[in-house]
């Protein structure tokens, strides 16, 4: 990977007193957002890029902490001096969305009204709510318009939503491995994941914090299922095949195949740190996302609300069966129909939906080339 890491980073916290009125009708009376920035905001404040995170992401996008050198940001490979999101040119902002579990106000935060964790009372948040929260953070940082907003998967949906809700504040949107709305199959996967959590006896209707427990089994299953859908069949075949851990059949229900071992490990790791209520909220935000809904399903009409000068880079991955290239092309077709500047790359990478996190020379080359052409 060319370029360098941004090195040591620190997180910051911003408190907002102005209530956030949510799409669901709920209200967050006040909230905190944790965020990180990399690079330097120029005097014209025209070089800012917002990185939106996906289902399990957060504000720690790049670099590492001084006291935790192994805690590397989730998209470190694309950010830094000489990397596609070049911190010598751009000022990069990453935040943890409301409802998250990495420091921003979420279900595990204390509800000031009760003095107890929000738990089940935390309102349902939508992608448009995150955009509003992100816009307020932009106000706080003095950023009128983002040079670019970039995100993969659910992060791409936020970038897309920005162009519709805040058209004057986004000059470029880079929407990777995303979709204009989930398919029935996608919602079905999310529902199985939610059911795993909701039916875990340790869930306690979402108020498990008070019971000093966590629905670890449900969250673990949800992650295992999700993980399968983020990988490609080919990749799993190459990585694990039918390899047996002990070389022969055990004729029991212990871990036998390498793929089982891998999935259980991933599930355990995730269930160890992620909050189940946040997982539920994130999957609902995915399910509800449908910016064309209020336009009678007409995506062209929705995208026509974007600024005619906003540029779009849409990218998909050939092996992504969760958010297929065809879904990205729906966004492309809508943008073409309303005469927007759009480029589309269909990247041949073997890692399924997770490809968007991979360090691939062509993929990163495309993003870098697009960003290099942005005039500040």
């Amino acid at each position: 990977m060319p370029g360098q890491s941004v090195g040591v980073v620190t997180s910051q916290r911003a408190h907002f007193d102005q209530p956030l009125h949510l799409r669901s009708g709920g209200v967050l009376p006040a909230y905190d957002l944790v965020y990180e920035t990399y690079g330097t905001l120029n005097t014209a404040k025209s070089n800012a890029i917002l990185v939106c995170h996906a289902l399990s992401g957060h504000h720690h996008v790049a670099g590492h902490y001084a006291d935790a050198p192994n805690n590397i940001g989730w998209w470190d490979n694309i950010i830094g001096p000489g990397r596609p999101l070049d911190t010598d040119k751009f000022f990069i902002v990453g935040l943890n969305n409301p409802g998250g579990c990495h420091g921003s106000t979420g279900p595990s935060s204390i509800n000031p009204a009760t003095g107890k964790p929000w738990g089940a009372d935390f309102p349902i948040v939508a992608v448009s709510d995150w955009v509003e929260a992100q816009a307020r953070l932009a106000d706080r940082l003095g950023i009128d318009a983002w040079a670019a907003i970039i995100g993969g998967s659910l992060g791409g949906m936020q970038a897309m939503r920005w162009t519709i809700s805040q058209p004057e504040r986004v000059r470029n949107a880079i929407i990777i491995a995303s979709a204009p709305k989930l398919s029935a199959q996608n919602i079905a996967f999310n529902d199985v994941a939610r059911q795993a959590i909701l039916t875990d006896p340790d869930f306690h209707g979402g108020n498990y914090y008070e019971h000093n427990t966590r629905p670890v089994r449900g969250l673990r299953l949800a992650r295992m299922l999700g993980h399968i859908t983020y990988l490609s069949d080919d990749q799993m075949g190459e990585k694990f095949g039918r390899e047996l851990r002990n070389g022969s059949f055990g004729f029991d229900f212990d871990v036998e195949f390498e793929v089982e071992s891998y999935l259980r490990y991933q599930g355990d790791k995730f269930a160890g740190y992620f909050d189940a209520n946040t997982y539920l909220l994130m999957t609902k935000a995915l399910d509800y996302f449908d910016p064309a809904r209020l336009d009678g399903g007409d995506l062209t009409k929705a995208m026509a609300r974007s600024n005619p000068n906003t540029g779009f880079l849409i990218a998909s991955f050939t092996t992504d069966w969760r958010f297929t290239p065809a879904r990205s092309k729906e966004i492309v077709a809508a943008l073409l129909a309303c005469n927007r500047n759009v480029s589309y790359a269909e990247i041949d990478l073997n890692f399924g939906h997770d490809s968007f996190l991979m360090d691939d020379a062509h993929y990163h080359g495309v993003v870098a080339a697009y960003l290099r052409n942005i005039k500040l």
Partner: protein, 203 residues
Amino acid sequence: MTHTLGRPDFDIISAWIEPGHRVLDLGCGDGTLLKHLIDTRGVRGVGVEIDDANILAAITNGINVLQGNLEKGLDEFADQSFDHVVLSRTLQTVRHTEGVLREMLRVGREAVVSFPNFAYWKNLRSVLDGRMPVSEDLPYQWYDSPNVRFFTLLDFEALCTRMGLIIRERHVLDEGGNMVENADERELNFLGSLAVYRLTQAR
């Protein structure tokens, strides 16, 4: 004779396109033609490319480019959404010749097509000498050529007739990129190395 961007057909195509037109360039390569048209004629342009390296090059050139396969149609484009749909030196590389031409005139008011003429006398002589032609306009060996259809000016015009396509304009160039003039149809077919057509269809 010097040509814009070293491509004589680009000069002809450029002259046909008016300022502000919407142009779709199929098989746009690194976006050289579109960039030229945007810079000199202020067109709104989009390219389509299948090749990864060209996608990267076109984005580097600041061109709107979409990765896709012409053979699979142009579904993402609405009917009559372009003034010109350009297919330069690419028709001989596609299998679904009729489908591609129909799609071009579905999404565009006018199709601009350039292709190498296999009946060019040097090509014919090469075959008579026992070897497949390699020239300025056919710069490949038989084993590495992307070309899958081998046809002549007269073949192409016969297809246009059969498909009901109207040839609005035609320019025929020799290997040096000079216009072949004052020749009858059969002579053109022998003297032309590259042909550029403007096509429409009755609506």
